[in-house]
């Protein structure tokens, strides 16, 4: 059983290594939020290194790191609206076909709303996204590779992945989606302070609600900053420190994806390796060299520099700055 967040007294630093964070807060069988904005490769690799098992990955859209965790044997269940990087991965296609990976489909919006409901303590929330589609067919809701087992009630019956009811207000059809409350969220951010106040800017996607909804939030931060940096731009904070279990300082923590204001996505690397997922051989090779073969993200980055030279990495750094033309003022006295 992972350590509950409320074991943290406030005001105490949550700085630690990725290894410690995953050891303390990720347990086999956990449901883990990892959105496409912004993926933390550091925590992904550490989860694989520690051989965590039977994880369920959830997010509006999941990035190739989820495919990686599946191929590496850590993730065997997925609830998402979009699987980035499935098409070109024979192993993953195979696992989804033979049932080694089970799933139910949702959408970017409905996962966001399910996380919102989970974050706000609601049992369910409405959305009309699947009305009129084949998803409402009973045989599809519980197809042979679906997560029906996860939805089994005490009385043995199976709770549906979504349900149509009549609104008690206007009598019209309403489609309900159950709340989603992950055990753990992993995410990378531009900056955080030691207490875990997380600041993210750029496209927000479902990040904020993914973090509010998750019991333990593990964050890798490109920069660790003083509280005063956070509190002089409090509008960038997506969740406050008391919501966060572990803060890891991880430069280049989002590589090979990009980080607004810091570096661009490393497309040549993605195409080169496709995170090594195209077939089983390349997958094993990739995992041996870049995950098991590196003790942490710093080592991963070091190996990258050794292999491709610093220039390739440094070339990704953002040079332009978007400067506020008339910075907002918060003064009140």
């Amino acid at each position: 059983m992972a350590e509950p967040i409320d074991s943290w007294p406030s005001g105490r630093s949550k700085l630690m290594t990725a290894r410690e964070a995953v050891q303390r807060f990720v347990s086999d069988g956990d449901t883990i939020y990892s959105g496409f904005n912004i993926l933390s490769l550091s925590l992904t690799n550490e989860i694989i290194r520690q051989g965590k098992k039977h994880l369920k990955a959830v997010a509006g859209s999941v990035t190739p790191n989820v495919t990686m965790m599946s191929i590496a044997g850590s993730v065997d269940r997925i609830e998402t609206g979009y699987l980035s990087g499935t098409l070109n991965s024979k192993p993953f296609q195979e696992m989804m076909r033979d049932g080694r990976v089970k799933w139910n489909d949702y959408t970017n919006m409905t996962i966001t709303l399910r996380l919102m409901a989970g974050g706000m303590g609601m049992p369910f929330i409405c959305a009309n996204s699947f009305l009129g589609t084949d998803y409402l067919k009973p045989e599809i809701m519980n197809h042979s590779r679906s997560l029906a087992e996860d939805r089994r009630r005490e009385d043995g019956s199976i709770s549906p992945p979504y349900a149509v009811i009549e609104s008690p207000f206007d009598g019209k059809k309403a489609l309900l989606y159950p709340a989603l409350k992950p055990d753990v969220a992993i995410v990378h951010c531009q900056r955080a302070d030691e207490e875990g106040n997380i600041q993210i800017w750029g496209p927000q996607a479902d990040t904020k609600w993914g973090l509010w909804a998750s019991r333990n939030v593990l964050v890798t931060a490109e920069e660790i900053v003083p509280r005063s940096v956070i509190s002089t731009e409090p509008h960038f904070t997506v969740v406050p420190g008391f919501k966060v279990s572990a803060v890891i300082h991880e430069p280049w923590g989002a590589h090979p994806s990009g980080l607004n204001g810091h570096y661009r996505a490393d497309r040549s690397w993605m195409e080169l390796t496709g995170y090594g997922m195209t077939d089983w051989d390349s997958a094993r090779q990739y995992l041996d060299e870049w995950v098991y073969g590196t003790e942490d993200h710093a080592a991963y980055i070091t190996r990258y520099r050794e292999r491709f030279g610093d220039d390739l990495l440094e070339a990704l750094r953002v040079k332009d700055k978007m400067v506020p033309e008339q910075p907002a003022q918060y003064g009140w006295r």
Binding site: D6, N197, P234, P240, G241, K243, Y330
Partner: protein
């Protein structure tokens, strides 16, 4: 005294949703005095307010602009009441109300009845939201007979409802009112498990110096339960008194009240 008694209930390091009115002052006193690491949050959106200077007075409203300067996050009600409180992350809440009853239910809406109200009050604001979901609820109000009722004129915020099992039956989390700090004494509630068992009634815990059990019972209209370890509250320290006057800045404190 009530402000100070309330402040003393706040623990260092806990996340607190602070209601409007006197609770803003009590929570500020706690933060300046013994709970520097509490998370001071209000429902309009500012989360984890840390005053940028000890010279600042307490906020006088839940949307006071002074709450933003020094806060870790400037969010909205979906964050503060939706995610923080209803999501179950508020370890404590401090609430004022017009009335409280035997089982800790609060009334913020009116005196009299809905069909024939003596007076319409401003309403619940976030009070009902917070009472439903905060892990621990501290209520605070002057000990007056019009405020303490066997049953509140109207229940706007659920306490233990009609007693043991009431919250579970209603579909609420098993937790509820824990403390009620007044101008004469401090009450706790008789339940070991958040309302499943025990009488769930208000229990007299602490008397202010110079206040007698009889004086309290004279105001409370039902047969009051008294704690076996009933004690007298330590008198306010010089530091507390100085701090509270400075923080109040003349806003809440009135002669003879609080």
């Amino acid at each position: 005294m009530m402000i100070i008694a309330t402040a003393r209930q706040v623990r260092d390091g806990e996340s607190v949703i602070v209601g409007m009115g006197p609770p803003l002052l009590s929570a500020a006193l706690a933060k300046y005095h013994h709970a520097p690491n509490m998370w001071y949050c209000t429902e309009s959106g500012p989360l984890d307010w840390v005053p940028t200077s000890r010279d600042l007075p307490a906020p006088i409203g839940i949307a006071d602009h002074s709450l933003v300067e020094g806060s870790a996050m400037s969010g909205d009600m979906a964050d503060a009441l939706g995610a923080f409180v209803n999501g179950g992350w508020a370890q404590s809440a401090i609430l004022q109300a017009a009335q409280i009853d035997r089982f800790g239910n609060l009334n913020t809406i009116l005196a009299g009845t809905f069909e024939d109200p003596i007076r319409r009050l401003p309403g619940t604001g976030g009070n009902a939201d917070i009472g439903a979901s905060a892990q621990r609820v501290i209520s605070t109000m002057p000990l007056e007979s019009r405020r303490f009722k066997e049953r509140a004129d109207f229940r706007t915020t659920a306490g233990y409802i009609d007693g043991p099992g009431g919250r579970a039956e209603a579909g609420l989390a098993v937790q509820g009112p824990n403390v009620c700090a007044t101008t004469m004494c401090v009450f706790s509630f008789d339940t070991p498990d958040g309302g499943l068992t025990g009488s769930c009634e208000m229990v007299l815990e602490q008397l202010f110096p110079g206040v007698s059990l009889e004086e309290v019972q004279a105001i409370v209209p039902w047969d009051l339960k008294v704690s076996p370890d009933l004690s007298y509250m330590d008198p306010p320290t010089e530091e507390e008194l100085t701090l509270v006057r400075h923080l109040d800045n003349g806003n809440h404190l009135r002669p003879g009240r609080y």
